[in-house]
């Protein structure tokens, strides 16, 4: 078929645009504040913030690292004053949103950690996302118990973005006396 040049050019541009549209829904994961506190026992945790600047919802579904026998996704929860820990199948990182992995909440559990981690070391983790695929992250080894400051108001209980979650329990205000 012998198409006139302008028609061919139009068709090619249209094809490129359409091709671009079909591949436009993607996730763009940025990892920040990745850290691993020195574990006092055989198991440890990796914490970090995952931000998704793309337009497709994504999910962290697996993690591996050379410094531990295995890594699993877990969530610590408090219910009725009792803490428990459950494995989770994935950690959602919505499009345009983020997921925060922090002490007392979501975390990557590291099982059977190498015994020689020291503050100042770095640990490489390979994270696998549903959409974004594999991504390597460098986490800093920090002191045991290193955690973001709890937002403590002077009047009563406040819940800042970095404070500990207490699930859906109602908060009691201590009466001034």
């Amino acid at each position: 078929m012998n198409l006139p040049r302008t028609t061919a050019a139009t068709l090619l541009t249209a094809a490129m645009l359409l091709g671009g549209c079909s591949g436009a829904a993607s996730s763009e994961i940025t990892v920040s504040d990745a850290r691993v506190p020195v574990p006092p026992g055989p198991n440890g945790a990796a914490y970090m913030t995952l931000a998704n600047d793309g337009d497709a919802d994504d999910r962290l579904i697996a993690a591996t690292t050379d410094v531990a026998g295995s890594a699993e996704l877990h969530e610590t929860a408090t219910d009725g004053g009792t803490m428990s820990m459950q494995p989770v199948e994935g950690i959602a990182v919505p499009a345009g949103g983020q997921a925060v992995l922090e002490p007392g909440g979501l975390h990557i559990m590291l099982l059977d950690v190498a015994g020689d981690l020291r503050e100042g070391d770095t640990v490489e983790l390979t994270l696998t996302f549903d959409v974004a695929g594999e991504q390597t992250v460098t986490a800093e080894v920090v002191p045991t118990g290193d955690m973001p400051p709890m937002d403590m108001g002077s009047e009563g209980v406040t819940m800042g973005s970095e404070s500990m979650e207490t699930a859906s329990e109602p908060m009691e205000m201590r009466s001034e006396g």
């Binding site: 506190p37 006092p40 026992g41 408090t78 004053g81 009792t82 820990m85 118990g145 400051p149 709890m150």
Partner: protein, 236 residues
Amino acid sequence: MRPSRRARRLLSLLAALMTVTVAGCGDAESASPPTSADPDALRAAAQLEIEVLPRQGAPDEVWGRVLDLPLPTPDFRLTATDGSTFDYVRDADAAVTLVYFGYTSCPDVCPTHMAAVGAAIDQLPPAQRDEVDVLFVSVDPAVDTPAHLGAYLENFDTAVTGLTGTTDAVNDALVSIGLPPTAVDATATEPPRHPSSVLGYTADGRAHVVWPFGTPPTTYAHDLRLLIAHGWRATT
């Protein structure tokens, strides 16, 4: 009238069932139910079901969560990491005894909470550091033998008394405080649950203040100074 053959068979079956049941109850292993909790302990410990975050109050006030109803004195005996028996009533004699329930393979909460307590004690003047005892009771005692627990606690800067024993003994300790018996045995397939708060017992034997997970070292240090100086009256 002599019971019929059928009736006699039923009676012996019933007798057999009762024997098995009674034997089961008397079994020393995990089949036996833990000691019943003191109603006062249950009532006081029920306050812990609602978590209250610490708040930064006045300098002369305790910032941790002051209980309306203090926890009564625990009454239990467990094995310390050197193999000796720790009897709470006899051996908890510091100005402040902090009680924490956790386990050594805990990846997230226990290292974080214990490190916060340790950092707080480090912030105290040396003379005051001796006035605080920290008890770490394992809810995974089958894995956390005295030696294993002792090695784990070496990793924290501050001296911690590790307590373990049989699963029943640890659950008895929890129940004596009015808390749910969440210690597990060797057959457990899930990590054990444990209270989220550190309990602070003063010389009067009771715990008037508790601190939930997430309490920063500065809050612990602030409160410990007041409790060491003034005892439980620091909470009034």
